[in-house]
Symmetry: C2
Subunit: 198 residues, 2 copies
């Protein structure tokens, strides 16, 4: 069976890796948007809004053509009433890890899909809970030294050494990495992506 | 910081990949044991027993030397009162998927560690719950066609297309892949593996 290629409107190497493992053929087009500009107020709404913006930015690149299966995603973390994206500096990352240490936080990924031209963009959301165990100072410095905080929402990577400090997760694992695969599969299937055709 | 190399007493490519991502240096020595022979009766006990056997088998290869940090692991699945290992055939895999479909199952990984020669082997256990959504016939055949069932406890791989059918997990994700990294980290740390030395 050969699957139809999708267009991933995201520059994230982690999302690419998830799609590779899931054996879905894709092309990456980096959406040129400002992720710090949005109109919504809650993380749940913001991630869906930004995911949609990413799809729209990529649609606009195609002038004459009729692209199909354009997918965008955006991930954010919420802990103790604060919304956390990617840290700007190692000091930022340390503050973030101290906030996560010993606490449960929520991870939201918004997804947006344009099934075909002139159809509306559909959006959806995945939520997971993650419990960090209490990290001591040695562990925080060990983890900051790993450099994994750079470019990661919430300053950690669950798929790398971040896993040492994660007591449990509830929900979708791939959501915490940045692309919830069950949600993604369901979104494609509901919009008649040809999974089961030869 | 350079970390001390551990010896992984397991032939599993998935365990290798988890350790690579966690940036722990390791050598693989394949333990030559029969995984179908054990004295315990519950899956929790069986996985710890087999993990220990794997470590013992590798210790016996070193005659004069004094190896350190030998780690073994074994994974099993329990669903509807049945214990499930790796399927023997595609028919076996189909039966297993039909059993998992729409149900919650438990994944157990037993871990064993020999910190240094003449010390006792310590063992520990990780448990996760996994909820499969209801799979229809198209989906079961699609998934069997992927070939992922081969060599996988429970006939699925959560890190590949198996993720399409997993509604949620509770507990450790890496446990479901085959090596629970938080448990592993804690086991090493409790036995004075030098994580925090330069």
């Amino acid at each position: 069976m050969t699957m139809v290629t999708i267009i991933l409107a995201s520059g994230s190497p982690r999302r690419r890796e998830l799609l590779q493992k899931a054996k879905i053929p894709f092309k990456v087009i980096h959406p040129n948007i400002n992720e710090d500009v949005y109109t919504q107020t809650t993380p749940k709404e913001i991630v869906e809004e930004i995911a949609k913006k990413k799809v729209e930015a990529v649609v606009n690149i195609f002038k004459q053509e009729s692209p199909r299966w354009i997918v965008g995603a955006d991930t954010m973390i919420e802990v103790a009433g604060k919304c956390i994206g990617k840290p700007d500096s190692i000091e930022d990352a340390e503050e973030c890890l101290r906030l996560l240490s010993g606490r449960i936080h929520r991870v939201y990924t918004g997804m947006a899909l344009l099934p075909e031209k002139d159809k509306p963009i559909v959006t959806t959301l995945a939520t997971s809970e993650v419990k960090f165990r209490k990290m001591n100072d040695d562990e925080i410095h060990f983890y900051l030294d790993s450099g994994e905080w750079s470019g990661a929402a919430g300053a950690y990577r669950i798929q790398e050494q971040g896993s040492f400090f994660i007591e449990w997760i509830k929900g979708s694992y791939s959501n915490v990495v940045g692309l919830p695969l069950e949600t993604f599969y369901t979104l494609l299937k509901e919009n008649d992506y040809p999974f089961f055709k030869d």
